[in-house]
Amino acid sequence: MNGTIKVKHLAKTFKKGDVKAVKDVSFEVNEGEFFAFLGPNGAGKSTVVQMLTTLINPTGGEAFVAGYDVSKNPGEVRRHIGVALQETGVDPDLTGREMIELQALIFGYQKEEAKQRSDKLLDIVQLQESSSRRIGNYSGGMRRRLDLALTLVHEPKILFLDEPTTGLDPSNRIAIWKELQRLNKENGTTIFLTTQYLEEADSLADRISIINKGLIVASGTPQELKAQIGNDLITLTFAKQEDLMKAKNALETELEMADIIIQNDRLNLYVNEGNKQLLQVVRVVDQYGLEIETTNLSSPTLDDIFLKITNEPETEGSGNDGE
């Protein structure tokens, strides 16, 4: 048993509607690594998570989790992973303590061990005071923390977390981040995280892969990904909305710039040596008689990379994958 994930040409076609949710995905996650898996809604993230956690079978390729083949040895995979799906999987009629103890007993702990494990985990996720209350009375943040505790019951080597902080307020989100970092650093737990909050991946992950339309479109450390699209980001806004496209065409023609994206009412230009380029950009736009309202020079964030690679604006706070 180890804490690695190896995925080779993984594919999933759903019979219903003949939907190719995942076309060809390959990647590796090392033991003790914090890996983030990003993608827009419907990209195939959740389908990959469901295959790796044995909820659905792949229709192509192979995947090994903790050293076990997910298709041939799903029982062993389940024994060695902890999973928190997008929707919390808790019984509202049980108390937090009962829920953890039940999970521990199913994982083969004896009654007394299950109680001890429950005490420890309730402390970790700070739910000790509410442990005797029914889960139906818990807030969304408390349910999320309980869900995380449930994934840790059997001390798994690998954690799969599918958008674990979606819908949480900032304080609960930071509490979960801290706990994930602690697990990763102190226990050496391998973490596979999908998220729609890119700053989450930026600050937590050692490495990131971006999936779009069922294919991996970019992989690397956050720094490597940022470097792929240039060191600087020039953002322009215009007095007239219709000037956005005119400016884009002008800059592509005159400066042979390829990395230009219109995002809502802004024009984003991904460049190197932004200071020098900014002057040229302003000059060209001016020559075409287009009225600039604001200019901004900054370093690109992971959001910018995501936007450029998937070529569609992500919608913060949007719902689950349609997968």
Partner: protein, 259 residues
């Protein structure tokens, strides 16, 4: 190494019993309605027993199986409702992500439903005793009635769980329980077969397996140990169970499969 099926089944059954007890309104209405049937039919229709066809039989013993079967079906229907609830709140997926036996995940709620109907049957029998029930076969006959109720409940639990696993939808599972009405009422519910006048109802009662459940219970409560009359109820249960449990198993396989 796989998990122990018996241990997992016990854990999941125990949890289902806990959640049922914590939601008394999931079983109290069904119990009250069944007791209500017993009181109202006994109070309002007991005069029918004066008819020659009844040969002086106690109408309470005649109508009691209706109340028991109604409680059994309602209790067993809880199995399906429990499964749908688990699917909707994510608990079913949580169980699928553990090494728990897949069989145990499906059997747990069915067994819990069976235990629920067992208790309901005991309560209905208790009420009947308070109303003056007398069994022609004594305690043995009462045990037979309980076993028949459990068997019939198992058949209905299989059906209810199968619908729940197939549709994964609370409304659909609820709609599935409406089969309860034709099963209960298109039968020898209020009067013996010979007294049913409408030909169509006679045909329906002949086809309806509930008729044979009623008759076997009535035989043991009113007439005595008449082997072949009792066996028709047992056969009806065996046939119904083989169909509904197969339906549940096929639906369960699909629900926990990783297609």
């Amino acid at each position: 190494m796989g998990n122990n099926v018996f241990k997992d089944t016990w854990l999941i059954t125990k949890r289902n019993i806990m959640t049922t007890l914590r939601n008394p309104f999931s079983f109290i209405p069904n119990l009250v309605i069944s007791a209500f049937f017993l009181l109202v039919y006994e109070g309002g229709l007991s005069g029918i027993s004066e008819l020659p066809t009844f040969e002086g039989a106690n109408y309470l013993a005649f109508i009691l199986p209706v109340s028991i079967v109604s409680a059994a079906i309602g209790g067993a229907g809880g199995a399906g409702q429990g499964i749908v609830k688990d699917i909707e709140n994510g608990f079913f997926s949580r169980l699928l992500l553990t090494p728990a036996s897949r069989l145990a995940i499906v059997l747990g709620p069915i067994i819990a439903g069976m235990l629920q109907l067992f208790v309901q049957t005991l309560l209905i029998l208790g009420i009947a005793y308070l109303l003056g029930l007398e069994s022609a076969t004594g305690f043995g006959g009462i045990l037979f009635v309980i076993l028949i109720a459990i068997g019939w409940g198992l058949a209905f639990a299989g059906y209810s769980a199968g619908v729940a696993l197939r549709t994964k939808n609370a409304q659909a599972a609820q709609a599935g329980t409406f089969i309860f009405f034709p099963l209960i009422f298109l039968s020898t519910t209020f009067v013996p077969y010979e007294l049913i006048e409408a030909q169509w109802l006679k045909v329906a009662a002949t086809i309806n397996p509930t008729t044979y459940i009623f008759e076997s219970m009535r035989t043991v409560l009113i007439d005595g140990w008449h082997f072949w009359d009792l066996m028709q109820g047992v056969f009806a249960i065996l046939i119904a169970c083989s169909i509904t449990i197969t339906f549940a198993a096929v639906s369960a396989k699909k629900a926990v499969s990783r297609g």
